[in-house]
């Protein structure tokens, strides 16, 4: 069993590497096609042809694109993410802090959102058709239907500006205690919890209900099992694979999809870093950010697959 999973992980890692290669090439190509380059951006209004040429040469940007790509790829293979074009800091150094921030925000959000969403989704499925179910379903549809910047802005106005309970910004630094951390993260976490929970609730409810319609759940019902037992003992373990997948997809959103939340709360995460990098055409940084998003996404999907396998004795072998 462990051997099987190990083999599967190895196989998946291969696919992950392949996908990363595809993505890195695509990102490189797209960035090359973008109008304007890092030098012009850096010089801004003072970009005269001479100044551009001089700076470009100084930054070794006059080499052919392919050579730069291969060099970058070679660096990546040896764990060297390269040097940012615009501020000469190591990309790894630049990303490190931001990534930690993103993971911290994502982690705290997941800690709240996942149990909440699974709980509500399972309860809604358990009492399918009840008032509770209908309230939860209506609420999730509403949340799904509202752009997140509205959720975020409204939350800021209510909790930060008028009630002054919570800070309007979420600065990742200077966090001493857990309480302070929670207070600091409250606004973005509330917003993100809203956004990602709705999807998870819907998926959880749907997959539990799907499972409830199977013959073995009917059988359990005919054995005299209560609704609660039916859902928790029979439906849930079999719906776990689908739920894990939904959770993974939602969590992947916490990596790159949070750009709006990062913008509104001025949170220094990787998504904003990448947008900055695009604005300055800072290729090594763009590449590395894209790699991180891609890698994170694939990892989450892989974890979901492993959960699905562990939950299913047939696949477990």
């Amino acid at each position: 069993m462990n051997l099987l999973i190990a083999r599967m992980i190895l196989q998946r890692m291969g696919i992950v590497l392949l996908t990363l290669l595809i993505v890195s090439f695509a990102v490189f190509a797209v960035t090359e096609l973008l109008p304007g380059d890092v030098v012009e951006i850096l010089l801004g209004q003072s970009a005269t042809p001479e100044a551009v040429a001089g700076l470009r040469a100084a930054m070794h940007l006059d080499e052919p694109a392919v050579i730069r790509f291969v060099k970058w790829l070679g660096g990546l293979a040896t764990g060297d993410l390269g040097i940012s074009y615009v501020n000469k800091l190591g990309v790894a150094e630049l990303i490190e802090g931001r990534l930690f921030n993103t993971l911290k925000l994502g982690g705290v959000t997941a800690l709240f959102a996942v149990p909440l969403a699974l709980g509500l989704g399972i309860m809604a499925a358990m009492f399918q058709g009840s008032v509770f179910d209908r309230v939860v379903s209506a609420a999730t549809v509403t949340v799904i239907s509202v752009p997140e910047f509205m959720v975020a802005t409204a939350a800021v106005l209510i909790f930060a500006v008028y009630l002054k309970w919570l800070p309007a910004l979420s600065l990742a630094g200077d966090v001493g205690s857990i309480g302070e951390l929670l207070r600091n993260f409250a606004m973005p976490v509330i917003t993100l919890t809203f956004v990602i929970s709705a999807q998870m609730i819907r998926m959880t409810r749907a997959s539990v209900i799907d499972t409830l319609n199977t013959p073995y759940c009917e059988m359990a019902l005919l054995k005299g099992a209560s609704r609660v037992r039916l859902v928790l003992v029979h439906a849930l373990p079999n719906a776990l694979g689908a739920i894990a997948n939904a959770v993974a997809l939602s969590l992947s959103y916490l990596l790159g999809g949070v750009i709006i939340v990062e913008t509104i709360f001025n949170y220094p995460g990787v998504a904003k870093l990448m947008v900055d990098a695009v604005a300055t055409r800072d290729l090594p940084l763009i590449q590395s950010c894209a790699m991180i998003f891609c890698f994170g996404f694939l990892m989450l999907i892989m974890i979901a697959d492993i959960v699905a396998i562990l939950a299913n004795p047939r696949l477990r072998g």
């Binding site: 058709g129 799904i144 910047f149 998504a271």
Partner: protein
């Protein structure tokens, strides 16, 4: 487990949703004829004006008539989203069916590439492309299409793989039928229901993503604006509850909720799935 007594209620909800969608569709088509003012004209020196007889939904940050702007905005929001979702579903469904029918290496390669694409966060992708090449209508539509094609592909492929395993497809194959016939006659008619439901959901996501992009400053050309852009440019009015920011938000929510509700209340045979 389905209460029969609910039958009527559910369809009433579905009907109401359909009416809302039809309303916005109609507004999108008729907008230029029914706007009370030129949507780009500054008609009031006050900004974030209240709801008055002259300006039914108040005025925006420049003193333009909000009602006119929202009515015209429907054109862009509904139009762009519809165009993008149509293209995305056409491409995704076609590719998905081809991959399912041909299978083998093609399927592997397509699925791999699509997966790779899927792993790039959509909002960032949209931001990068639109930031890079400008936000003209074709660019917006194509970007949104590119973002939503993979999902449509995966969905259609999964459905088509199931249909492809059916005996009637096998019979057609044994008859010697070509790819186009298999896709058009045997697969498509049998996945069209769920694909339509998926179309609706994807439409909602596109409306929301478009709003998100507009919020980040990338949308249609002034003086017009889609609903997301209307919210964005007037967001400064939110603290004092200006109608200029409330109503476009209501418009977005009413459309997306209606589409969601309609899909949720479609007959089960058509629906067949509840989320992306």
């Amino acid at each position: 487990m389905v209460r029969i007594g609910l039958g009527m209620r559910i369809s009433a909800l579905g009907l109401a949703s359909a009416v809302v969608i039809a309303f916005w569709g109609l507004v999108a088509i008729l907008a230029p004829l029914i706007v009370p003012y030129d949507p780009g004209k500054i008609v009031d020196y006050d900004y974030f004006g209240p709801m008055t007889e002259d300006f039914l939904l108040g005025t925006d940050y420049l003193g333009r008539d909000m009602l006119s702007r929202i009515l015209m905005g429907a054109r862009y929001t509904v139009g762009i989203s519809l165009a993008a979702v149509s293209l995305a579903c056409f491409l995704g469904v076609t590719l998905g069916m081809v991959a399912a029918v041909i299978g083998g290496l093609l399927d592997q390669v397509l699925s791999r590439v699509i997966d790779a694409f899927n792993s790039i966060p959509s909002k960032l992708f949209g931001l990068v492309v639109v930031a890079a090449v400008g936000s003209s209508l074709p660019v917006l539509v194509l970007t949104l299409t590119a973002i939503y094609t993979p999902g449509s592909y995966r969905f259609a492929r999964a459905l088509a793989v199931n249909i492809n395993a059916m005996d009637f497809v096998t019979v057609a194959r044994a008859r010697g039928e070509g790819l186009i016939y298999l896709i058009r006659e045997e697969i498509l008619p049998n996945i069209v229901g769920p694909v339509l439901a998926d179309f609706g959901l994807r439409f909602v996501f596109i409306v929301l993503l478009l709003s998100g992009l507009s919020f980040l400053g990338l949308g249609v050309q002034p003086p017009y604006a889609d609903w997301g852009a209307l919210v964005q440019e007037n967001i400064g009015g939110l603290p004092f509850g200006a109608p200029a920011v409330i109503f476009p938000s209501v418009a977005i929510a009413s459309l997306t909720i209606a589409v969601n509700m309609l899909i949720d209340n479609l007959p089960r045979r058509i629906r067949d799935r509840s989320a992306p």
